[in-house]
Every structure is written in structure tokens, then in C-alpha cells.
Symmetry: C2
Subunit: 343 residues, 2 copies
Amino acid sequence: VGAPLGEFELIAAIRERIERAGAPASVAGLVLGSGDDAAVTVPGGATATSVDAIVDEVHFRMPPFTPGDVGHKGLAAALSDLAAMGAAPGEAYVQRGVPERIAEETLLELAEALGELAAAHSVTVAGGDLVRSPVLFLALTVVGHAEGPERLVSRGGARPGDLLAVTGELGGAAAGLALLERPELAQGLEPPVAASLRGRQLRPEPQLAAGAGLAAAGATAMIDLSDGIAGDAEHLAAASGVALAIEPARVPLQEGVAAVAEALGRRPLSLASGGGEDYELLLALPGEREAEAREAAAGAGTSLTVVGRAERGRGVRVSAGAESAGWASGFDQLQPRSHRGSA
Amino acid sequence: VGAPLGEFELIAAIRERIERAGAPASVAGLVLGSGDDAAVTVPGGATATSVDAIVDEVHFRMPPFTPGDVGHKGLAAALSDLAAMGAAPGEAYVQRGVPERIAEETLLELAEALGELAAAHSVTVAGGDLVRSPVLFLALTVVGHAEGPERLVSRGGARPGDLLAVTGELGGAAAGLALLERPELAQGLEPPVAASLRGRQLRPEPQLAAGAGLAAAGATAMIDLSDGIAGDAEHLAAASGVALAIEPARVPLQEGVAAVAEALGRRPLSLASGGGEDYELLLALPGEREAEAREAAAGAGTSLTVVGRAERGRGVRVSAGAESAGWASGFDQLQPRSHRGSA
């Protein structure tokens, strides 16, 4: 461990750890990378740029999060926005606010996991910043690419008649958070099921391959599920100027979510609809593209489930009755994610 | 003031305040702006991307900073990196970490000043984020443009024989900080001089016009003075693989810096060489381009002063003797800027 590193040595050590984890030192179009006043790129077509921040004691706690979980999740959440555009990820910029009490090894472990996720998606860390802060935070900027802007999928293109679908299964991140906060809730679960739920909270996977495939398969609008399907569907409906009719009974729940919900005395649907951070994709697509979209999802190693339909009107409509019990409204990002309420 | 705004209302109010301040809602190349998963652009040539963060109690305190000063300075520091590349600024992305105790009006005042600076430089705020945080911080990402990467000036192009020059006058930001922390030091100064020094600390101006002009006038390497000329010259020397011989007596000091230094019992040069945040430009250029570079600086409303020369070798060399007394080494960004030591 040795003597404390100075700023420049620490930045160099972080960079080395990111590259040792396999993150590419450069990508197509990058002319000048980390270490100058700015990174220089020559993008070939359209770029998609998104920012996301995570803050200690608000979006995570260590423990149960390890430093590696924090690095992974910070970058994953940012990349998830590129997935929702159907963009191919390219560059990441990482700003770190670091309290004096944080050990250098913590920062290096964080960098290593961030580098591993970057490597998995061929993302280069093209720039960054390290500043003192009373609280640990990461602020990420990610840039993705597409041949042209028409290849990118906004939230605003859903049309009445389109199907509404989600990738994968929902509720796992919220159930995983409950297990991390109250380990005794895992008693009735198979250990691999509990581990999978916890992993959903700690190390979410951005659905980049699915997003790109679904964009090519004709998705008309797409958003990532960071706030929960109830709230995120409202965003998509508002941006597209349509109503979204959702059948709650069709929302796919991850294995173990129902059991955790029962142990919590909550409805399973509340974990899927109001629990954020599943980082799956919610998309609209014309009915005639459904088979193609299913193939695209399968090709990306995930599933596609139709949960409703776009209609004329405004807002989100869920069928009344028992099967919609637990449908939540979206949680407010200004509320700590780990303290989000159920509806 | 009324009832507390929810997340989406607050974001909408911030966006409105930024646009009311005159920041363009779009710029050339921007296809999809704030409010979707990502902003979409079609850059025409090369892009320069830089990130910077400022944190309450580390990089500023309110008071003496007003919320507007914080918004202005955060964006100014980020844009200064684009100035150092000679890039034309285009898009900014603003991530805000906001404690619950911060009033909404504080965030709106911050947004307004940030929007005014964005307007002054035709920058669009293309995206942003608002998260809860125990401490107020801003993390900025700025993107600039150039016809091609060869038009952008890195830190790495200085060649032996090049002149070394700075724009404007130095030491003002450090002297201004001293006046803000110890108002009694201003007693011997003309009020407009003291006000100008304080303004240098609170509302620095990024030298974007000068940077673009100097890039066109043949600058071979350029860096903005965020850490003080001593440390930033070391960065430029290292990146270019040259030695920089600097004549401290030629370093231009802002009016009042010497008087503040005397009141502090410090050498005037220490405020210019070790005091950061002047956000002037340090550049190398071939001697035969000097007249052209002077014209470019004058056209941007500033001055250009030759302070030394690039030579074969490594590192920064300052002439020994009385005129170099007070030459500082660069301060470490991990140290609070407001607590930086003198050398």
C-alpha cells in the first residue's frame, strides 16, 4: 500500500488499473484521450451523450456495496441510457469526488470494476477528474455512436397502435435491495435466487446489445427502467404524446421477487413497477415488427414481453382489478433511492 | 416561493431559467436536446470533450460566493479547457448534487448565471441531472467543435525554439480569494481594483475567443491556467517533451496583486505562479507567428506576453535570483483550492 499517492500518481494508478482491467485505451474515432485539456474525437455519424451521478449514502452504501460495485453500477447506469437510444457505446468520462478518508485502494478497486465493465462493452475511458469532496460521488458522462441520428431511438416516437414491451424481468433490483438491507428476508429463498437478486441491485447490466438490436428491429420509442416501469412509462407516454395501456398481469417478474415481496408484506407488482434500477428497456414497436424484435432480444441473450399497447390519449392506464394491485407511481430521484417508498 | 417543487417541476423550472437567461435551446448539430435518455448530435468535424467538477466547502463557499457565482464559475472552469484546445464551444451537460437544505431559489439563481455565461458563448445546455447529495456539487461536461482534429491544440506540440506566452494578467484570482477571506486586506486598494480582483475569483471568464484565435495563429501547444503557471507549465513541458525556460520577471501581474501580496507577507509572483484559477492561457508558438498571435489576442480583447521559451530537455527552468523569488510549484487538486499553500 505504501505512502499516500499524490494527485498525479493517483490518477496514473487509476488509469493503469482501468486499462489492466481490459478497457481499451482508444476506440475508433478517438484522436486524443485522457490527460490533455480535453479528449478529441472525430465521430463518424451521430453521437448520443448522457450523464448520470451516484452519491454515497444516497444511491449506495459501502457496505453492502463494495468499491467495485460502486464503480460498476455508476458506469452501468450511465450506459443504460445509451442502451435506451440503441447507440453503440464509445467513450466514458469519469468525475470522482473523493473524501480524504477514502483509501487509495478503494479508488483502485472502484476503477478496476469500472474498467471491467468498460472492457465488456468496448468503452474507452477518455477523460476524468478527481476532486476532493466531503462525500464520495461519481459523475459519469457517456457517449455512444450511430451511423446517423435516424438510427437512434428517442422516447418520443411511439404511435397509437404500437405494442409496448419490456426486456428481461423486473423487480429484481428492488428485491435485491431489500435482501441487502434485511438479510433475514432471504431465509425462504434458494441461495442462488437470493444471490441473483442481490446482484441485480449491486451490479446491474446495461442492455446495450438488446437496445441496439431493438433499434434495428423497428422500436419507435425506448427508455431504460431506472425509476420503475410505472414512472418510466409515464415519461415515454408524455414524450410520445400517446396513452400507454398496460396490463400489469403481463409484467414479467424475476424469480424470487414475489417471495421477497411477501416477506415485506408488499405486492410483488410494487417492486417491479415502483422499484427502480432494473435497467431493462421499455419500448414501443409496430405489431408487425414483434417477431423481429423478439429475435433481436434473443440474440442479445434476453427476452421480450409485450405488456401493453400505445393508444390515443395521454398518460398511463392500467386495468383496474386485483391484478393491478401494487401498481406504483414512479419514485422521485430527489428521494434517496434506498429510501424510496412503495405505492 | 410557494410549495416545494417535485423533481420534474424543478428540472423544468431550472431549464426555463437557463433559457430565459439567453442560452440557446439548440446549436448547430444538435438533433435532440435535454429531456430524453441522451442528447443526440451530428458533429460536423472534430469534437473536444472535457469534464470539471466543483464542490461546496472545497472549491467555493456560499458566502462569499453567491449561487450565481457558483453556476458561473463551474461552467467557466469547464469551458476554459475548451479554450485551451482552441475549440468552439457547443454543448454543456450539468450534473447537480443538491442537499435537501438548499432552497429552490438558490438552484434557480445558479441556473440563471450559468445560463447567462452559456448565452455569452453560444453554448446550449443539452442535458443534465439532479440528484440528492449531502453536499452541493456541480459536475460539468462541455463539448466543443472544430473543422478537424488538426485545428485543435493539445498540450503536446511545443518544440524547442518556440516562444512561451500567456494571455492577460495573472495572480488576480488568488489575490481576489485573499480579499474575500480577509476583507481588511483591501484597505490600501482602490475600490475598483479590489472589485476586479474579487471578480476574478468569483466570476472568471473563459478565454474562448483568444483560444480559437491563437489556435488559428499557430499555437503549437496550449493549456489553461487552472493550477497556476508553475504547475501548468510543468504539464505542458511534460506533454510536449521539452523544457520550458521561464523568465519570472516577465510574468504579467494584474493590478493590485502586488499590494495584496505585500499585505499577505508573500511575494507577488507566488500569487501568479502558485495561485490557480486565473483561467488565462499558456501557449507555445513559433517565433515567426508572434505578431499574428498578438493580433489574435488583441482581437479577442486581451493581451499576449512572452514569458519564456521552449528548449531541449525536460521540466521548467526559472532563472535564479531575486526576480524569481516566490516561484511556486503547482498546487494539488486534491487539496482544497481555498486552502492551497504558497511555495
